[in-house]
Symmetry: C2
């Protein structure tokens, strides 16, 4: 029944010129109840996962040149920016705020420290934790890149509409906080 609901939704799908060859055999809509919409597999709905991916790629394509000009990757920029905004953080907090996995962060810390953008030292209170902090050199990157970054966002605001950007951000936040059934994230 859950799948039937899906197939009914697929009516929203635009015709889409069937460039493919086979499978034009739409069975008469007689069997609606027990119909296994196996056909719907070839005519998928738009995917949130891909939609988010493409949108993000489009947005990032405008930032990458700016970051590349300063020889920092997108992820390195996130780490630097978070440290700039939040001050001293331990690795877990930093990884969370910058949306970077712990193993990735470990590697990045090594490079960022070598390049003099951040400093690393153990927490006196808890020997397991590693405290990270931005350096003046790191702050320099921020003050150089941020204006360019804001310019791009201003451009997006102008083209897309400030209010709609805010609305989109709201929806994205809500989507990110959704708790579904087969969470699979909720261990137990």
């Amino acid at each position: 029944m859950l799948i039937n609901e899906i197939s009914s939704l697929s009516e929203h799908t635009k015709p889409m010129q069937n460039k493919t060859d086979s499978d034009a055999k739409q069975p008469s809509a007689s069997d609606t109840a027990a119909a296994k919409p196996k056909r719907s597999l070839r005519e998928p709905r738009r995917s949130l996962a891909i939609g988010l991916l493409r949108a993000r790629e489009a947005v990032m394509s405008h930032f990458r040149p700016i970051l590349a000009a300063h020889d920092v990757t997108e992820q390195q920029w996130r780490v630097i920016r978070v440290l700039y905004e939040a001050g001293k953080l331990d690795a877990t907090e930093l990884a969370d705020k910058a949306s970077i996995l712990a193993p990735s962060l470990t590697r990045m810390i090594r490079l960022l420290e070598e390049r003099g953008f951040i400093t690393k030292h153990k927490d006196e209170a808890d020997g397991r934790r590693v405290l990270l902090q931005i350096t003046p050199a790191g702050e320099g990157i921020v003050t150089e890149v941020m204006p360019e970054s804001l310019k791009v966002y201003a451009d997006i605001d102008a083209r897309f509409g400030v209010q709609r950007v805010e609305q989109l951000l709201d929806m994205l936040e809500e989507l990110a906080s959704l708790k579904l059934e087969n969470g699979s994230v909720g261990e137990e």
Copy 2:
């Protein structure tokens, strides 16, 4: 001056139930003219790039277990699904439809071919092109994974609202098609 423009825009930001903790320190709106919003660097607006990243991560967290159960990665799933839907494609088309970079696709083709999910052969007409096609084994993956995938999307529809999902997809598409000034992508 450009930054001032930005900071003025930030007034549109809605209060938004402060689920977060810190930063409730909105400076009084007294300093509007000559204020050097150096503070704005420390108090950034919400970022589209990060919002899209988090939302996507949240969505994918529900799909990854399904894919992992069938021993395919997210990207491999996209490739298989596109080939299933579109039939025979050359590498460039496939990379575009699956939102995967050409170098990545080249590597993936090798693995997917070894595992028997796709076949690869040169185009007779144009020796440069490589034509990819899904195999029955690959179709098997689709028929196994797709129902689970649809279930997750149905769950998202139920929680988020079908209409809002459609609205979100519309906005994402539009955002992805935005042409900004410093395009840096727009060759020509």
